[in-house]
Amino acid sequence: MSAQQRFGPGDRVRVRLDWPETGPRRVHIRTPHYLRGRIGVVERLFGAFPNPEELAFGKPGLPEQPLYQVRFEQAPLWADGAAGTDTVVADIYEHWLEPVTEARHG
């Protein structure tokens, strides 16, 4: 694998709260709006792939980006939703993920 993997299964991650669509350039973004800023858990790593945000404009999309399947609690994604058993998983490229550090107690 050409890219280093920053995250592993079980890691808590946050999807970056970023909105490139509102900037001056045309963009192609695969990270769904409903997941931006949300905290999830890495389910698995699929390997590294060229960045589709660049491929869409005819660029090579290198270096390849690690692609993760990230799991989110389904109900809390929407207003007033309390966590239940249901989940949503999505495939998210590493450059859209930040680590979530647990608060230390005591």
Partner: protein, 214 residues
């Protein structure tokens, strides 16, 4: 979300109009024809290449997925190969999807039920299942599957106990997902062909579960 319409009318003397040219085509059909003819004229591909690709696309249908599921139900080693590399396992039963995007098979268990959607567009494991149904591509399904999965399942007649995790899988990258449903009870000793007949397209998307006839 109905796909079928029934012809309830009787055929009177004037019901069959003479064959006539279709009315004005939608603009996208005009665009497609113009681009297609230009690409053929410039030698990018031949008309026959296109015809063969259309035939190939049309040949793909849910029965291919059903055969994969039925074999996975009866052959545990094949199931492991299917879960590890779906396209390679499909090749074992004569389904050639080597040029297609990667497919990942999601195994339903008594604790977890998968529901596949593409909120961004309509990604679907076409190389195995063929073209998706119109409802799968609809804005309504794509929005509601992640917001109210159990409500969507209920509309397809599917209810799962609260304790079962409904996992909605949003195909946001280039991986395509196919659900491996649980084998229904009461099918012990069934042949692969008989089992495959139980596996519907909708059960491989995750909106329904296969049921053995009573």
């Amino acid at each position: 979300m109905a796909e079928l319409h029934h012809h309830d009318h009787t055929h009177g003397p004037d019901d069959h109009a003479p064959i006539a040219a279709h009315g004005p085509k939608p603009e996208y059909a005009v665009l497609e024809r113009a681009v297609r003819e230009l690409l053929i004229e410039k030698g990018v591909f031949a008309a026959d290449d296109l015809r063969r690709q259309i035939d190939l696309t049309d040949s793909r249908n849910p029965s291919q997925g059903a055969r994969l599921v039925a074999r996975a139900w009866t052959d545990p080693a094949f199931k492991q190969r299917l879960l590890a590399d779906a396209k390679k396992a499909a090749g074992e039963i004569g389904v050639d999807c080597s040029n297609a995007p990667d497919v990942v098979v999601l195994e339903n268990t008594p604790k977890r039920h998968h529901l596949v959607v593409c909120t961004l567009c309509s990604c679907y494991p076409k190389a195995i299942l063929g073209i998706p149904p119109a409802w799968y591509k609809s804005v309504e399904y794509r929005a509601r599957a992640v917001k109210d999965p159990r409500g969507v399942l209920a509309e397809f007649g599917t209810t799962l106990p609260r304790g079962v995790e409904v996992r909605v899988v949003d195909s946001t990258a280039d991986l395509r997902y196919l659900v491996l449903p649980m084998r229904p009870a009461g099918t012990e000793g069934w042949s692969e062909d008989r089992l495959a007949a139980l596996v519907t397209r909708d059960s491989m998307i995750g909106v329904t579960t296969p049921v053995a006839p009573a």
